[in-house]
């Protein structure tokens, strides 16, 4: 009887073409199915091994257990089966994601193609043409679309070149912080015990530092330069990822699919990286995008204080610092890089928001 029950469930799954097609495509689904089948088999075996008199009594309980297990397993299977194709479509339908993503794509093109796109040499000084206002204002000079700074350098070209430092920091620093933070978070959330205690205490100590002060302190320790800025951001912001991933890993660790994987005897690393990690990914991607916006601002702050890359390299923060000094004579030297920084931060934020909403099945509902 129990076999016919399992068969009917398998039959039903196969009857739905949508599920069947995706079941084959998604490795997680396949694995869940294998796990489910193994559990069913072992339950059936147990029933068979019982002495005949007890069977009638036991059968009901065992069957109820098996049924509950199958139902619990079926939920994530069906959910996972539905996810991939819909997610991409949904992302493309979200105007937030499209606009913000488009802006960042444009910024990447500008940064990569800066030598081809920038109209002037960003370092060429011309004191005769200092503090020329942007095109359209009185005394504007042809060719300097966004004016010149106090040393007669072209503001537009400098902003375009400045995007290189900002984007490098955004991707490298946020990526590294994400890798370190989420690894520690996964370990803390999954292993619990003393590992969790140590990591959590470390996070708490870290959180007691004002981040801006800590970043300035770190750059002062490491020496100025792009590497130090990236290192400082990673050292400070890994805690953001660690806290979120830890909580998420703890929640996922209670889920049926993890219990199932444990029951069939998957090793702990396998459960951690092949079962839990993929399910933490949506949260992580959104967080990573938000972190990129934060990294861009931190770099700008460090440049502003004069602790980032050397003054030969144009950066938005450095331009902002120069613009702040001559704001009464030439407001555009401050306004242009500030606008670029604002737009970039907002774009990363909106993208992260949109991704979070589209990728997280709970937020979506």
């Amino acid at each position: 009887m129990e076999q016919s029950f399992f068969k009917s469930i398998a039959e039903k799954a196969r009857q739905s073409p949508a599920i069947a097609a995706r079941l084959a495509a998604d490795h997680r689904v396949v694995r869940a199915r294998v796990v489910a089948r193994g559990l069913m088999q072992s339950t059936a075996d147990k029933i068979r091994q019982l002495p005949p008199l007890a069977v009638d009594l036991a059968r009901h309980r065992q069957l109820a257990e098996a049924r509950a297990l199958v139902l619990a397993l079926a939920a994530p299977v069906v959910q996972a089966a539905r996810q991939p194709p819909e997610t991409v479509l949904r992302l493309l339908r979200d105007p937030k994601v499209v606009f913000a993503g488009g802006f960042i794509a444009l910024l990447i093109v500008l940064a990569l193609g800066a030598p081809l796109i920038a109209p002037k040499d960003p370092l060429a000084q011309n004191l005769i043409l200092a503090t020329v206002p942007p095109a359209g204002f009185a005394d504007a000079e042809a060719g300097f679309w966004l004016g010149t700074d106090g040393l007669g350098r072209d503001v537009l070209s400098r902003v375009i070149y400045g995007s290189r430092v900002s984007l490098t920091v955004a991707f490298v620093a946020a990526g590294l912080a994400c890798a370190i933070g989420s690894l520690l978070g996964l370990l803390a959330g999954f292993l619990r015990g003393w590992v969790d205690a140590v990591i959590s205490r470390l996070v708490e100590i870290w959180m007691a530092f004002p981040p801006v002060l800590l970043s300035i302190l770190l750059v002062a320790v490491l020496g100025t330069g792009l590497h130090s800025v990236i290192a400082a951001i990673v050292v400070i912001d890994w805690t953001r990822f660690c806290r979120v991933v830890r909580t998420e890993a703890m929640a996922q660790g209670q889920m049926d699919y993890v219990v199932a994987a444990r029951t069939v005897g998957f090793s702990r690393p396998a459960i951690l990286f092949r079962e839990i990690f993929p399910n933490v990914m949506p949260v992580l991607i959104a967080l990573l995008t938000l972190e990129m916006g934060i990294a861009v601002v931190v770099e700008a702050i460090l440049s502003f204080v004069g602790l980032s890359v050397s003054s030969d390299t144009p950066t938005w923060g450095g331009m902002i610092a120069e613009g702040r000094q001559i704001v009464h004579e030439a407001w555009w030297v401050l306004a242009v890089p500030l606008a670029a920084l604002f737009a970039t931060v907002v774009a990363f934020n909106q993208l992260g928001d949109g991704l979070a909403r589209s990728l997280d099945p709970v937020l979506r509902r």
Partner: protein
């Protein structure tokens, strides 16, 4: 029960502070720049340098230096600032009031602004006004205090030059104060012209610090209010014939304010951290501005004192938040 929570949190706080002390001490000892080399004239002999090192205790072993520092710190003695040549404790005591006034004023503005907009948005439910507030707020949520501060500089220094750009008070007025709490003291002693001058100096840094927090408050409080507005008790009050404003303020707000309060507390620590760069931009004489100078000048004792002070402030805020939330919510009291 509440007492147990307090004791537990205090023990945790001491552990965290000890961790902060160790981290900052180790960090500073791997700094490549030598503070003594920076303060001495280039022609100084090796003996002069050694004498100066001995004077500041920099010639002792690391373990001994840490021991001396911790022993002093426990009695409120953080050593002498290398660049300012005064006791660190005195510098901090002189600068801290300016930052406290700024942070508290910013907190007040953020709560008033955020709360006001959230209530307004709730009153305009399902209208164009709400959509506008939500849309604008989702953008404002992304903007950090650094960008706000500079945008305000552009606006009030160039477009509408009505506010002073730097400082805390007109130097001519900065006399006859018994304490360093200029704003509070001038209000309490009835010198409103002076208070007005201080407020005009504080307006821009306060706004820059308050706006990001206000955006967070708007989002969370509006969400909570919206959920509360469909509860039965609000419906009952509506049936009784109360006006919409009274429904929001008296019925919904009281039940919706909990989560916002907890989050505001956490975000307040970010606001305090933000004073570092905002004070820098407006040359406001608080501990944040001091911190950047201390780091750039490699003033070890001052940096150590400042970081520990910031750590202490953060931890105290967190404890205060936990206690407030626990006292306001009977369900959390035993958690």
């Amino acid at each position: 029960m509440l007492l147990a929570v307090v004791v537990n949190r205090m023990a945790m706080a001491i552990l965290t502070l000890a961790g902060v002390a160790i981290v900052v001490f180790i960090l500073l000892r791997v700094v490549p720049g030598d503070p003594v080399a920076m303060m001495i004239s280039p022609g100084a002999s090796a003996a002069d340098i050694a004498a100066l090192k001995a004077h500041y205790g920099l010639d002792a072993s690391l373990g001994r230096q840490f021991f001396i520092w911790i022993k002093g710190a426990l009695t409120g003695d953080f050593g002498t600032s290398i660049t300012l040549h005064v006791y660190v404790t005195d510098v901090l005591a002189a600068r801290l009031p300016a930052t406290i006034e700024l942070a508290l004023l910013a907190l007040f503005v953020a709560v008033a602004l955020g709360g006001g907009v959230a209530v307004a948005g709730t009153l305009m439910r399902r209208s164009l006004g709400e959509t506008a507030i939500d849309g604008l707020n989702s953008i404002l949520l992304a903007v950090p205090d650094f960008i706000w501060a500079l945008a305000l500089v552009l606006l009030f220094a160039v477009a509408i030059p009505v506010l002073p750009l730097t400082g805390r008070i007109d130097p001519a007025l900065a006399e006859g104060f018994a304490t360093r709490f200029y704003l509070i003291e001038s209000v309490l002693t009835g010198r409103f012209a002076v208070a007005g001058n201080i407020l005009s100096h504080m307006a821009m840094p306060t706004l820059a610090l308050a706006l990001p927090l206000a955006a967070v408050i708007v989002r969370l409080l509006k969400q909570s209010l919206k959920e509360a507005m469909v509860q039965d008790y609000v419906l009952l009050a509506r049936i009784k014939g109360f006006g919409e404003l009274r429904l929001v303020l008296q019925e919904a707000l009281r039940n919706a304010v909990g989560p916002t309060l907890a989050l505001t507390g956490v975000q307040f620590t970010f606001l305090v951290g933000g004073t570092v760069i905002v004070e820098r931009i407006f040359a406001y004489p608080g501990i944040g501005n001091l911190a950047i100078d201390a780091v750039i000048n490699r003033d070890f004792p001052l940096i150590q004192g400042l970081v520990l002070l910031f750590g202490l402030i953060f931890i105290l805020i967190n404890i205060a938040v936990d206690l407030t939330v626990a006292m306001l919510n009977p369900r959390l009291r035993h958690a």
